[in-house]
């Protein structure tokens, strides 16, 4: 546990020491704000729905972007050898790095609370869907970040890592949009795998354990696979 915190702190600090964290936060908050406000007055409703609908789109880029270098850079510079020969478990490396990216994402979400407070001034807003929406975003972000970490373990090249992760999250994301083309028995499976399906449940303010289990098991699975990839060289 202590090792996870050590790695987590180091990675989070390195996000904020480089311009990375600030650029990401500004771009994320700025783009979301633009999408959000451009439709707010057309709809003329006190709701954050359009915000929660567009945020996952941005996460498609955001998740892979903040994670692409986390492992690939260690492999490229050889520092993975330093980490792996310290008395720590491989999964501690993965979890520490995952948490740092996840917390960075939560930090980037914080300024968007302004949108919520702005709307409370303009009209009455239902709190349930807002809490659900944020919870859902944090979970979707977690899955995308876990996938990003996995992509980053596969290559030494950040750009390749980004592309692999992006394709992966993109497929997960569009699955429920192509459901109409799928045969019946597949449709329900695809729907369950699709990340957006679970998100729309939560964003309505309905927090169902099935959705939570989906997100958490997706995160755990991806982190587990990442650990396997970086431990592979230790196998005889």
């Amino acid at each position: 546990m202590e090792n996870i915190i050590t790695i987590f702190k180091k990675e989070l600090k390195s996000y904020f020491d480089s311009a990375m964290a600030y650029i990401i936060i500004v771009v994320f908050v700025g783009l979301l704000g633009w999408f959000f406000t451009s439709s707010l007055f057309l709809v003329n409703l006190a709701t954050l729905r359009s915000f929660f609908e567009t945020a996952p789109f941005l996460l498609l880029f955001f998740g892979p972007a903040i994670t692409m270098r986390l492992i690939s850079e260690e492999k490229k510079s050889g520092t993975i050898e330093l980490l792996a020969t310290k008395p720590i478990q491989d999964y501690e490396i993965i979890i520490g790095k995952f948490l740092s990216a996840w917390i960075l994402f939560v930090i980037a979400l914080l300024p968007t609370l302004i949108y919520y407070f702005t709307i409370t001034i303009l009209g009455d807003i239902e709190l349930g869907p807002v809490i659900g929406g944020y919870l859902g975003l944090i979970l979707v972000g977690g899955v995308f970040i876990a996938i990003g970490i996995f992509g980053s373990t596969l290559t030494e090249n950040q750009v390749v890592a980004f592309i692999i992760s992006f394709l992966f999250v993109f497929i997960l994301f569009i699955l429920d949009k192509i459901l109409i083309f799928a045969p019946g028995f597949l449709a329900s499976i695809l729907e369950f795998i699709s990340i957006d399906y679970h998100f729309s449940n939560i964003a309505r303010g309905v927090i169902d354990t099935r959705d939570l289990i989906y997100y958490i098991s997706a995160i755990v699975l991806m982190l587990y696979l990442s650990t396997i990839v970086i431990s592979k060289r230790r196998w005889a």
């Binding site: 180091k10 390195s14 060289r233 005889a236």
Partner: protein, 316 residues
Amino acid sequence: MSIIVENLSKHYGNLRAVDNISFEIHHGEIVGFLGPNGAGKTTTMRILTSYLAPTSGDVIIEGKNIKDNSLQTRRLIGYLPESNPLYSDMNVLDYLEFVAKLQGVEKTKISKRVREMIGVCGINEVKHMDIGQLSKGYRQRVGLAQAMIHDPKILIMDEPTSGLDPNQIVEIRNLIRQLGREKTVILSTHILPEVQATCNRVLIINKGKIVADGTPSELQSGFHGYERIFVEIEKPDGYDFEMLQVKFNTLPSIKQITLLYEKDGILRIKFESEKGADIRKQIYQICRDNNFNLIELHREQTSLEDVFHQLTLEAA
């Protein structure tokens, strides 16, 4: 016994990077892995540090097999990997603290250990700089500092002096010799004088196999199996080589006396004696007693280079 390696092999497909090697290293030894590039030095070190798993064989470090106790054995080892990878975006202090934490140094002792290492490695003036800005010499010292931060019993260093200038090399070698008094040190190099300067034992590795094992002087003198001494004497009046031969043949450890050439009244003679016997003094005494004019007397030093070339090229 500090480290025991038994029948260790590592294969990459058909390539046998490490081919069934066994050796033991005692506490306090400074052992040099010597070999051409690609001989298997780095692979062996990576197995010792649990970065790679061996294809077969065992490594026992301080009585613990690395297969089942990897976390414990990793705690005992300080490791400086080949080409000294470092986080270039971290500053020196943060980095050493980070490593100290991962190595499990007690919280209350971390800042003390970091300060000590900064002193020992001479990096005080750069401690607030980002590692990426440091010169190669300073980077190497930061690499050493991180390897020693938890005061490990065993130090493993893959080419610790590569890329340093001659002054820095001397400094690092002195540091290694100092450390070797209380720690077991393994270092790898393909620079021969380095081994002579720092190590008290040499393992010459070639094509994944150990081809020689001994102290640098053992390897040098013992390589031919006999000592060679070259002598030049002014040809005494009334003597020929056979008569000289008789005089010198009385020496107990002598094996062979050969006349190399005679030129301008000077005889150049090669003496070969048993391994370990130094007969220079006796040769001088015989010359003095017989009033021979001795012009030159020297013992051939087989350089480690010769040993190395012969051992690693023979196999090729």
